[in-house]
């Protein structure tokens, strides 16, 4: 009993340490690399802000705030310390493009859309893809099914935003079934009513499809390989010999075991999916964090870029942590500390 609790605790501590390390590494890379580039991009950035500051009220104060924020005259380790401190306290400063809004408010506005789109799309893609893959790798599945499924894999080599462009062209421009852009119709502002919900779903279908269809094949491929391995295991032959129903064999003996590495790769690929969704939001003008990030790039709004990406890095690390912490529920060996 005590060892069991000990191993769970060790697992928890390892995961939390990984969580902290990932965030630290991400933030550090974003700080260090631009400063290693020739010609001091940070100074150039402040110059760029100053040059376009004529348009903005209180620009002098903002530039001064930026100077102190980066502490351009302070030694590098002090700049770094301040940067980490600000990022971890979500002290993201004012947006240049959306002045006088704070970056924090923009994050708050964009986050629900990104969170909803990404979580629904990722879960759908994982479930559908893994089920398809399991059927592909299962010796007893109908032959016709096996022939249809590889077709689903064709989309694996298409990046989500490119499929997004195609979907807009066919279903929004050509057939006019779905809207081109945005997350809801303007006549139905966000609120607790059905009109808004329908409108949001209507707008969300194309971007979600772009993500689901292109990432599904990855899960199918991994699951198929695991299923092939699992279906050859001795316990499978024993279960078959016991006369268990095929359905039970498939789900409880096959899928139950083959799904474990899939969950691991889910944790590993959340970052990639989040990165890809930045481009999907850009293509669909979907008002989530990715689209705001693009607005930041277009407007040279470095507070917005920096803030949005810090939050995305912390958000992805949190999602990975959640998957990692849910993993022992699926794999009792980790709870018992067998591994």
């Amino acid at each position: 009993m005590s060892t069991m609790r000990g191993s769970s605790l060790a697992y928890l501590i390892r995961r939390l340490a990984m969580f902290a390390l990932t965030i630290w590494l991400g933030l550090t890379l974003m700080f260090l690399i631009p400063r290693m580039a020739p010609g001091d991009p940070i100074a150039a950035m402040v110059a760029r802000i100053s040059s376009q500051a004529g348009r903005v009220e209180n620009s002098e104060q903002m530039i001064q705030a930026w100077r102190t924020r980066f502490g351009l005259d302070a030694p590098l380790y002090q700049q770094y310390g301040r940067y980490l401190w600000n990022s971890l306290h979500f002290d993201l400063g004012y947006s240049m493009a959306y002045f006088p809004m704070k970056v924090e408010d923009l994050v708050r506005a964009g986050m629900p859309w990104t969170l909803a789109l990404l979580s629904i799309a990722t879960v759908l893609s994982f479930l559908v893809g893994s089920t398809l893959g399991a059927l592909m790798g299962w010796p007893a599945s109908p032959r016709a099914l096996r022939l249809v499924l590889p077709a689903a894999l064709c989309f694996t080599s298409i990046p989500p935003f490119m499929l997004g462009i195609l979907l807009i062209y066919v279903f929004a421009f050509g057939l006019r079934w779905f809207p081109f852009a945005g997350a809801y119709a303007h006549e139905f502002p966000p609120g607790r009513n059905l009109d808004f919900v329908f409108s949001a779903v209507h707008h969300g279908i194309l971007p979600a499809t772009a993500i689901v269809v292109t990432t599904m094949g990855f899960w199918a491929l991994g699951m198929r390989a695991m299923m092939v391995t699992t279906s050859g295991e001795d316990y499978m032959i024993l279960a078959q010999a016991k006369g268990l129903r095929p359905r039970r064999l498939f789900w409880m003996y096959g899928v139950r075991n083959a799904i474990l590495p899939q969950v691991t790769s889910l944790a590993l690929s959340i970052g990639g999916i989040a990165g890809g969704s930045v481009l999907v939001e850009y293509i669909f003008t979907y008002p989530g964090m990715g689209y705001l990030l693009y607005q930041g790039i277009v407007n040279n709004d470095y507070a917005l870029i920096q803030g949005m990406t810090s939050i995305l890095i912390i958000g992805v690390a949190t999602a990975v942590l959640i998957v990692d912490l849910a993993y022992p529920l699926l794999d009792p060996r980790i709870r018992r500390g067998d591994l």
Binding site: P34, R143, L221, V228, V298
Partner: protein
Amino acid sequence: MSVPSWINAKLVAGSTVILFVVMLGLLGPWIWDTTQARVASCPLNLPPYGFSPPNLTFQPAQLAHPLGTESSGRDMLAVLITGTPNSLLVGTIAAGIGIVIGTLLGLTAGFMGGWVGTLIRVMSDAIITIPSLVVLIVISSYVREISLTSMGLLLALFAWPGTTRTVYAQTLSLRERGYVQMARLSGASTLSIMVFELLPNLMPYLAACFTASVSGNILAATGLEALGLGPSRIPTLGMAISNAVRGAAILRGMWWWWGLPIAMLILIFSGLFLITIGLDEVANPRLRRSEGNAR
């Protein structure tokens, strides 16, 4: 002459596709006038030859521009011929560096173990989960003007952990094999065991890692370019897509403007994907069984 048994259909098909794409980049400039990839070198907005214009505001197609032209007066065939090799090059630079670093670290971690091994493993696990595209967006938005090579170097920052993981896992299993033990007993140094005993056995895995990585890095580069963060003076496929999206090509019905660079990229991705799964089958004969034992 007999075909070696490890060559499979996927490998051949994928290699053929990639060879075709590479030849287009190499031979294209000899048969097609690539100066037409410059702004304002051609009539605007022509659809590809044989296709009718999306509406009456467009001029009819011309044989002189078989794949059409876009709104800044670039010939699409010339754009493809000049852009494709650059996109391939960025991916290859990043993947090449990633493979070398990844292999070195993976072998070291797997063979040495200890705190060095743990450090390498933990770092690569952490970097894999970081949303690399997001970090790359920040970095390149600060740096702005970037060359093709520095873009490759930048991408390589995130290109090694996948290889490190694969090589590490393989090294762990390989180093207990008889022939490695044998070499160790006969007094071979760690370095020579790594190079002469382990590396050759890792080759199919490394090749699969490499093609997958080229594909992933072309995708990342295209993503950055589509956001307008790529090299602004060097034509790439991502830049063509970026121009098309900014020029509202989708809503103007100019499918060839975004469709052709995307089709070319999909061709590249599919070719590399086929090679990767073909190589996976070479490395891992268990995968081949799934077709064999289909009842």
